[in-house]
Symmetry: C2
Subunit: 162 residues, 2 copies
DNA sequence: ATTGAAATTGTGTGGAC
DNA sequence: GTCCACACAATTTCAAT
């Protein structure tokens, strides 16, 4: 069980088997009722609720959310865009990052150390939209030195065990 | 409202304003009670439930899940690993992909067209673990031609509006 | 497609081990 | 930390519009 259920500040949480199973169940369906979770784990509902709250409060669970399928919303095409910032504009990197996060179609943003400075993961309708995205948001941006775009053929999540 | 709430097969769903607001609320907290969602949207609980079920059944919501903070679990370091598959081993790409998804620490896997064939997003304890991951899972793999690893300084999600 | 009402089911607290 | 019991709240079905 968690070392420090109430603080929300602790650096590293120690999970027991019950916590790990609970995380797995919630990953599969975060909307399952507490009763149903408790039953599957073989514990009382109130115990399960306490565990769940502790996982949330300690920051192990950063949020309960949904996965939206971009394709069903007409965004058939995903791409990764690798971006290099100009050497003289590196002080603009954090502004650039927060600007990008709110552009339509942006799914994720990675701020990197290494050959590229950023990787943008976008989901848009078609290849014309990819082009438009790069032209409007990147090529036009004076902080951007170069970009390189790769289409995403498949995207999957890890099946980590906690 | 959705064209086709019950099929789960339709390619593109047409959302109205209510659906979009519901998706937003559920993105922020997928565990909110149906009553609370209904109240905020200004509709009856039973209507809200019908909308929510339609969004799930039509595939717009692919799952209700949680975000787990890797750092709180002792995975302090994230990296992207860019992988090129050997020209003579391209038929092994899909096997490679499904092998990788289940390795400990793998968060995401992108299957790309372009300069690199894959991007792996991993979260591990420290730089020794990154090295170990690459040696064990990539360098040792005969299908892999080259890898290039970049540390992730920051990772954020888009704030898309649906 | 939306609703309100009703029956079922779930949540969350407090006291006991 | 876990459990049970209980009061309160939420879910889900259904007939009506």
């Amino acid at each position: 069980m968690l070392n420090n259920p109430a603080s929300g500040e602790k650096r590293t949480a120690q999970l027991d088997e019950l916590d790990r199973r609970l995380l797995s169940l919630l990953s599969e369906n975060s909307r399952r009722t507490n009763n149903s979770l408790a039953e599957e784990l073989g514990i009382a509902a109130s115990t399960c609720l306490a565990r769940l709250n502790a996982l949330r409060d300690s920051g192990v669970i950063s949020r309960f959310t949904i996965e939206v399928n971009p394709q069903v919303l007409g965004r058939e095409l995903e791409a990764l865009i690798f971006v290099k910032i100009r050497p003289g504009a590196r002080h603009l990197m954090s502004t650039f990052a927060s600007d990008m996060r709110s552009k339509p179609g942006v799914q994720q943003l990675f701020f990197l150390g290494g050959a590229d400075d950023f990787v943008l993961h976008i989901a848009v309708r078609n290849s014309a939209d990819v082009r438009q995205f790069v032209l409007d948001n990147l090529s036009a941006n004076p902080a951007v030195a170069t970009t390189q775009t790769s289409l995403v053929f498949e995207h999957s999540h890890g099946t980590d065990e906690y």
